[in-house]
């Protein structure tokens, strides 16, 4: 239960009086406060500093140390106070958690000391409220990374049971792990450099023949350059194939950016090999050579900064887009203005608006080539406004991009962004679980039959139907639910009685839903047969007979108690469910083993629901042994009955 509002539970219970006139069923008995003492102050002595609070405050969170009976271990008889030999500063925030319901993380505290205190007092760190949670997570992440870095430094030798493939992959990813990897790293770097330089030098004019024109080196020393190119491409191909072999997930590797760059770098060569000596496509072939420049991107494997730059650009896509958009807007505006301003002057270069684009761009970026200049006075005025505004428009988004870059750079020093998202998801999942714990707690206690002892009208039925041995279990279980919880459960129980429906958990709800959907019975004897769904325990309030829980299976014969029948009598206008409920005396059915029956915890694989026809004729003897598991024979019922077997 949301302990923060524990103080309002009395109000919620009082408000339940509003349901009473509407309800048609009698209400369960309220749990009594056995040890009714007035609210008292208790003293918590933490290493000499005394804190005082109400006992009720601590009782709000019964699953922590201070809220449960665990604190009795620390009770000091002589001084009548609870003594904890822990840090009093951290204890302040822990006690504030009980008081306000929010757990804060003080910034000056060391993260591991804080974690230890939380663990000691039984508080999960996920409850830290949002104002302090980011800080907590950041510090925690730094700490774990620091520890991991220390570990990694010590861990130089490779793990003994890594396969060759894994070793290779590790060598590729971290060149510092072995000398071989380092050698490979430098060799590939060298060849990338060679390849890039070759491409560049190829176009330099070197030496002149007796012809007028200088020919570039590439055409002069064709074979040499070709050999160089081939060698580089060989190396790159071999490297790519080796990486592909070693990758743990080949599909993911092939989709990664680096591998695409690798492929694009070597593909032109192979395409060129295939398409040689064909004059038609030689033009295209020349274009392909441009792609060889992509080899320079292979350097990003060797440089962390380059990778970060690429990542920054990717993550600043929105800012870049904005920059582009505003520039385009300004360019169009100014180009139009300049065109019309210069329209009057003769021999003006501003022949059309697109032609003015060039002028605008050159002016706004303050390049000012001077190949196009305005001649009219109006043109000059607008031209100067254009250059001034250009500075502004470009200068404004740039700091955003720069700050993004620096942030990402710093972030990259620490952890992966992906890991942070996973942690956030995990945290939300944990909080959801602890919140849903309240509703599951209620369902859980229902299954354990605790509510059953709170029936108002049960004088002539046995309370406990399970064998004697589990009686003590029951009592133990009763103790563990605090008074607050039992009151809350009582409230929910009253609501169930008011509406004559029961809470079930998702799984069973879906089963019931499925079964009603499958039902094609006109008389609609539906989910009653799936009623076993929820309360499969021997001690559920439906079962009023002496049942021996079977050892082999956990089938139970269900009957409705007369009280329920009479309630249904009052309530519904339709007679069908009533009859079927009576005839469910015949009903022997299995149920899903997910229910926690005290006697056994076997799991079946099927639910067999045998709906009974409306007319009730035969009464099987209650002691008839139920049929064994999945091959339950259909009961001898006349008429239309459908045996549904729904597998789980």
């Amino acid at each position: 239960m949301a302990a923060g509002v524990a103080a309002w539970l009395p109000f919620a219970r009082a408000a339940a009086i509003g349901w009473m006139p509407v309800a048609n069923l009698p209400m369960p008995v309220a749990p009594t406060n056995k040890n009714k003492h007035q609210d008292e102050l208790i003293i918590l002595n933490v290493s000499g500093r005394r804190f005082q609070t109400w006992r009720n405050t601590l009782d709000r969170y019964p699953d922590t140390l201070l809220g449960s009976s665990e604190k009795e271990f620390f009770f000091n008889e002589e001084t009548r106070e609870y003594f904890f030999d822990r840090d009093p500063d951290v204890f302040r925030s822990i006690l504030n958690f009980y008081r306000t319901g929010k757990l804060h993380y003080p910034r000056y505290e060391c993260i591991s000391a804080y974690d230890e205190e939380l663990a000691f007092f039984g508080i999960i760190p996920e409850i830290i409220s949002d104002c302090c949670y980011e800080e907590y997570k950041d510090r925690k992440r730094e700490n774990t990374e620091r520890l991991m870095d220390d570990l990694e430094d010590n861990k130089d030798s490779k793990l003994p049971n890594m396969t060759f493939r894994e070793t290779m992959w590790r060598a590729f990813e971290n060149p510092h792990t072995s000398t071989m990897a380092l050698v490979f790293y430098y060799v590939t770097g060298f060849f990338i450099a060679i390849s890039v330089i070759t491409n560049v030098v190829e176009t330099v004019p070197c030496g002149s023949t007796p012809n007028q024109r200088d020919i570039p080196c590439g055409e002069r020393y064709t074979e040499a350059f070709f050999c160089m190119d081939t060698a580089c491409v060989m190396i790159f191909t071999v490297e790519y194939l080796m990486r592909l072999f070693a990758a743990p997930s080949r599909y993911r590797f092939m989709r990664s950016v680096m591998s695409i760059i690798d492929v694009v770098a070597i593909l032109p060569y192979y395409i060129g090999l295939v398409m040689t000596n064909n004059e038609d496509v030689s033009g295209a072939f020349v274009t392909l050579r441009v792609f060889r420049v992509f080899r320079i991107f292979k350097f990003s494997r060797h440089s962390q900064g380059l990778r970060i730059l690429g990542y920054t650009l990717k993550s600043c896509a929105s800012e870049l887009g904005f920059l582009l958009f505003s520039l385009t807007m300004a360019i169009i505006i100014f180009a139009t203005v300049m065109f019309y301003a210069e329209k009057g002057s003769s021999s003006s270069k501003f022949t059309s608006i697109p032609a003015s684009f060039w002028y605008t761009i050159v002016t706004m970026t303050t390049l000012g080539y001077g190949d196009m200049v305005p001649k009219t006075i109006a043109g000059k005025i607008f031209g100067s406004i254009c250059s001034l505004s250009g500075v502004l428009v470009i200068a404004l988004p740039v700091p955003v991009i720069v700050s993004n870059f620096s942030r990402i750079y710093h972030q990259n020093q620490r952890a992966d962004k992906r890991r942070a998202q996973k942690v956030q998801k995990a945290r939300l999942a944990r909080m959801r679980i602890s919140k849903s714990g309240s509703s599951t707690a209620f369902l859980h206690s229902k299954r354990n039959g605790l509510n059953q002892s709170l029936e108002l009208t049960l004088p002539y039925y046995k309370m406990k139907l399970s064998p004697q041995g589990s009686l003590e279990e029951d009592q133990q279980m009763k103790k563990t639910t605090s008074l607050l919880e039992s009151q809350h459960h009582h409230l929910l129980h009253c609501l169930e009685k008011t509406t004559n429906h029961e809470f079930v958990d998702e799984r069973l709800y879906e089963q019931g839903y499925l079964q009603t959907a499958l039902q094609n019975f006109p008389s609609r004897s539906p989910s009653l047969s799936s009623e076993e769904g929820i309360t499969g325990t021997c001690c559920s309030r439906r079962t009023k007979k002496n049942m021996q829980p079977l050892s082999a299976t956990h089938t139970h014969s269900h009957t409705h108690n007369l009280q329920e029948l009479s309630a249904l009598h009052i309530q519904c206008g339709e007679q069908q469910p009533l009859n079927t409920s009576r005839s469910s005396l015949n009903l022997m059915s299995d149920e899903s083993g997910s229910l926690n029956c005290k006697s056994s915890g076997l799991v079946t694989t099927a639910i067999i629901s045998i709906p009974t026809p409306p007319s009730n004729n035969s009464r099987a003897s209650p002691d008839a042994p139920p049929p064994p598991n999945p091959d339950a024979p259909p009961l001898p019922n006349p008429g239309t009955d459908v045996v549904k077997i729904s597998a789980l």
Binding site: A12, A330, I385, L392, H501
Partner: protein, 213 residues
């Protein structure tokens, strides 16, 4: 025209960069309750009980009043599986006796005093007041349907048996069959109290929460 464009571009940029807009929260309404002695006189709680109640109240609502949203939020925490907001709305109206949109500690404690320490007559009166949404002295079928639907809403989706569309309506029918003696389609306060006093289930359940505080 150019200058306006320029200004527009610059402001647009600045606006986009300035993502943090501080919104000053209007200072909350503060309310201090009447003195302890007065409340003691007006309600049936003892001094100690009032102290406990006030501490809990103030803890959750430091400003001293509960507005409807906080009320709904608090009440919904007790019913995690369903949607308690509609019923909380009706409850809020029942507690907010002077209809000023907020429940102060006095309203709260007076309501609780009736519910926990009042006579059966008073409790039934209170319940009638809760059901009578427009406070005209009659409970119509529509009002009752709203109330019952809101109660069923609190159960949520995962119930057994599955909640059908017509269940609340049937429930209303049963209620009216029981309560509406002269079959005029509305339930008056006298019919209501009369009928409840004759129903022993209801009588018994009214005593259920005696020992809550």
């Amino acid at each position: 025209m150019l200058r306006s464009t320029l200004v527009a571009v610059v402001t647009l940029t600045l606006y986009l960069l300035d993502s943090v807009e501080d919104e000053l929260e209007l200072s909350a309404v503060r309310h201090r309750p009447e003195g302890l002695e007065q409340l003691e006189a007006q309600t049936r709680f003892s001094r100690k009980e009032l102290q406990i109640l006030y501490r809990g109240f103030k803890n959750e609502c430091p400003s001293g009043v509960v507005n409807e949203d906080t009320f709904k939020e608090i009440y919904s925490q007790f019913f995690p599986q369903g949607d308690a907001s509609t019923y909380a709305h009706f409850l809020f109206n029942a507690f907010d006796t002077d209809h000023n949109g907020s429940v102060s500690f006095e309203d709260f404690v007076m309501g609780l005093s009736i519910l926990l320490r009042g006579t059966v007559q008073e409790k039934l009166n209170w319940a009638f007041n809760l059901y009578d949404i427009n406070k005209d002295g009659y409970i119509t079928k529509e009002e009752m349907l709203d109330i019952i639907k809101s109660i069923y809403d609190m159960m949520g989706k995962c119930t057994y048996p599955i909640l059908k569309e017509e269940t609340p309506r049937q429930h209303v029918e049963i209620f009216f069959q029981k309560m509406d003696k002269n079959r005029d389609g509305v339930v008056t306060i006298d019919e209501f109290i009369d009928c409840c006093q004759n129903d022993e289930n209801i009588m018994r359940s009214m005593q259920l929460f005696e020992n809550v505080i």
